[in-house]
Symmetry: C2
Subunit: 318 residues, 2 copies
C-alpha cells in the first residue's frame, strides 16, 4: 500500500520535479515511461510552448504525467486554461496560494498536488482540498521557503500537521535519500537535481557538466529580499553576494538580476553570467544518464538499503 | 555489527551532544546509564568546574561517558590537561583543527571523535587519526558550518569521502530521525535539542519551556560574520536581525553580542535579552522528560519504524 502510487497510478512513488529550462516533454515522458511520474515544468514556457509540450508528451507516453505550474506565472489564467483544454490529468502547483485554483482544477477532474516549505502552508493545502502535498526543504534547488527549514526537520513536522499523502523534496538524489525520506514519514519523493542532468533534460550540456563537477558548498540560498533562490556559484553569484554584503536594496537586486538570466545560464549555457539553479545534493551527482537508468538506480539502491536496514536492530532491552 | 557501539562500548549508537549550559554530569551520566553515550559540554565550564563535573560523572555512572571540547576554548591547554589527568576515556573535539590535539589525546589512550560540517574537514579528521567523525548539518543548534550543508546532503557526501565510523547530527530528535540518518549512511547519531529539554539538563526551566513551545521557523542561522550560530527567536535575535539587515560590521556585531549572553539566556533564563541556541528540530519536541525515557522512546520508535519499512518494498521489475 502506497498512497502516492495509488493517487497517480504509477509504479514507483518517485516524482521528477517540474524544473524551469530542464523538464520539457522529453524528460517528463521518459520518467513516466520508466514508472515514475514525469512533470513538465511550465514555469519557463510561453503558453503556446506549453501546449506543444503537452501534446508531444501525450504522444511519447501512455502513462500518467503532469504539469508543474508556479502560480506567480504572469499569464497564469491562460496556462490553467491550456492545462484544462488539453485534458492534463495531474497538476502540481507551487509558489502561491493553494486556495486559488485547486477547486477549479478538481472540478475538471484534475488531481492537484501543491508544493510547500512549511507545515502552516501544508495545512492550507488540506483546507483547500489538495490531493497531495510536496514538502520541500531548504537544501532544494531554485526557489525556496523563507523559514529555511531543512528536509530532516520539515518532513516529520508536516507529517504531524496533515493527513494528506506526503511527498518529500530537497536533498534527495539516491536510494539512500528516498529511504531517509520514507523513514521521516514521506510516502513519495520529488527529485529535481538528479534529473536535471539526465540525457533527456533540456538543460544546456555545459550546465549539466557544471552540476556534475560541483562539490559540497557550491550552492547557496541567495536573493532573500526578492524571494530566496538556491544558486550554483559562478560570476553572477559573486555579484549577488557582493551586492548583498553591501546591503543592496530590493530594487538594486532586481536590476542586477535583470530579465531572462536563468534562461541564459541553464538553457543557453552562459555559465558565468547566467543564473544557475540547483540543489545542494548536486554534489553527489556524478554522471549524466538516461532518466530511466537514473530511476532504476534509485529504486535498486533503495531496495537494497531497505533490506540492509532489517539487520540494523537496536531493541530496547534494559 | 555497529562500529559506534563497538568503539565506545555502548548499548545504543546514540550520543547526547555536549552542549553549553545544558550538559553537565547529571545529563551525561543519565544518558550513559541508559545505554547511550553522555557527553559533558566543556565549552561553558571554567577548568575547575569541568574537573568537578568529571568527578561527579564518574561517581554517577560506571558506563562510558565523554567530554566535548570546543578547540577555540581560551584556556584549551588546561582543559586538555584536566581531561587527561582525570582519565577521561572519550573526547569529542569541535570548532577547530583535528590535527592539533588528536595524536596527543590518542597517545594517552583516549578515543577521539571530531565534529565537522563538511566532507573536506571529515577527510582532515581521517588524516589526523581521529577514531570517529560527527557530521553536523545546517539544521543543528548552536555553532554551525559556513557552507550551510544540511544533514540530508551532508551525510551521503561524508559517507563517500571517508571510511571512518560516522555519526550524524542536526535535525535528529526521534526514532524517525535516527532511521533516516542510518539510511543516509550514518552508523550513529548525536542528539542535542531533544536532550537540552530533558529533566537532567542544566538549562534554565524557562529556556526548556520556550524550546517545547517553539514552532517551525522559530530558529535561524545568524551572526554569519562572527561564525554562524543557530538562534531561537527573541528580542536579542531581533536586534541581531536588524543589525545584520543594516550591514553591521563584525566589530559592531561583537559589541551587540557582548559577553556572557548565552549564559544569561540558556542558564539564567533571561529569555528575551539572552542568546538561546537550539536546533530546527526543536519544533517537534513536546515534552520535558528524563533522559532515559527520551532515549527509550527514540530506540522504541526507531525499531518500530525499521520493522515497518520492511513492508515498504518497491522492486524494480520492468
Amino acid at each position: 500500500m502506497n498512497r502516492i502510487k495509488d493517487l497517480f497510478r504509477i509504479q514507483y512513488p518517485v516524482i521528477q520535479a517540474g524544473m524551469i529550462w530542464c523538464s520539457g516533454w522529453k524528460l517528463a515522458s521518459a520518467v513516466s515511461n520508466a514508472g515514475g511520474l514525469g512533470l513538465i515544468g511550465a514555469g519557463s514556457m510561453h503558453p503556446e510552448v506549453l501546449s506543444e509540450h503537452i501534446l508531444k508528451c501525450k504522444k511519447a507516453t501512455d502513462k500518467p504525467f503532469g504539469v508543474n505550474i508556479p502560480l506567480l506565472y504572469p499569464q497564469i489564467d491562460e496556462i490553467i486554461r491550456i492545462v484544462c483544454d488539453n485534458s492534463v490529468k495531474i497538476v502540481f502547483t507551487s509558489a502561491g496560494s493553494p486556495k486559488k485554483y485547486t477547486s477549479f482544477l478538481k472540478n475538471k477532474g484534475i488531481i492537484v498536488a501543491h508544493v510547500v516549505a512549511s507545515s502552516k502552508n501544508a495545512k492550507k493545502c488540506e483546507e483547500a482540498g489538495v490531493d497531495a502535498v510536496v514538502a520541500e526543504g531548504f537544501e532544494a534547488g531554485g526557489h525556496n521557503g523563507a523559514e529555511e527549514t531543512t528536509t530532516m526537520a520539515l518532513i516529520p513536522s508536516v507529517r504531524k500537521a496533515i493527513k494528506l499523502p506526503l511527498i518529500a523534496a530537497g536533498g534527495i538524489a539516491s536510494g539512500a535519500g528516498v529511504l531517509a525520506a520514507f523513514a521521516l514519514g514521506a510516502e513519495g519523493v520529488q527529485i529535481g537535481s538528479r534529473f536535471a542532468v539526465s540525457v533527456e533534460s533540456s538543460a544546456h550540456i555545459g550546465f549539466k557538466n557544471k552540476i556534475i563537477q560541483s562539490s559540497e558548498g557550491d550552492t547557496k540560498l541567495m536573493l532573500k529580499k526578492l524571494g530566496p533562490v538556491r544558486l550554483l556559484k559562478n560570476k553572477f553569484f559573486d555579484s549577488v553576494k557582493q551586492a548583498e554584503e553591501s546591503c543592496a536594496t530590493e530594487s538594486e537586486l532586481k536590476e542586477l538580476l535583470g530579465q531572462g538570466r536563468a534562461k541564459k545560464g541553464m538553457f543557453e549555457g552562459e555559465l558565468e553570467e547566467g543564473e544557475l539553479e540547483i540543489g545542494q545534493i548536486a554534489s553527489i551527482i556524478e554522471y549524466n544518464k538516461p532518466a530511466a537508468e537514473i530511476l532504476k538506480e534509485i529504486i535498486v539502491e533503495y531496495e537494497s538499503l531497505r533490506i540492509e536496514m532489517t539487520g540494523n536492530s537496536f531493541k530496547f532491552d534494559t
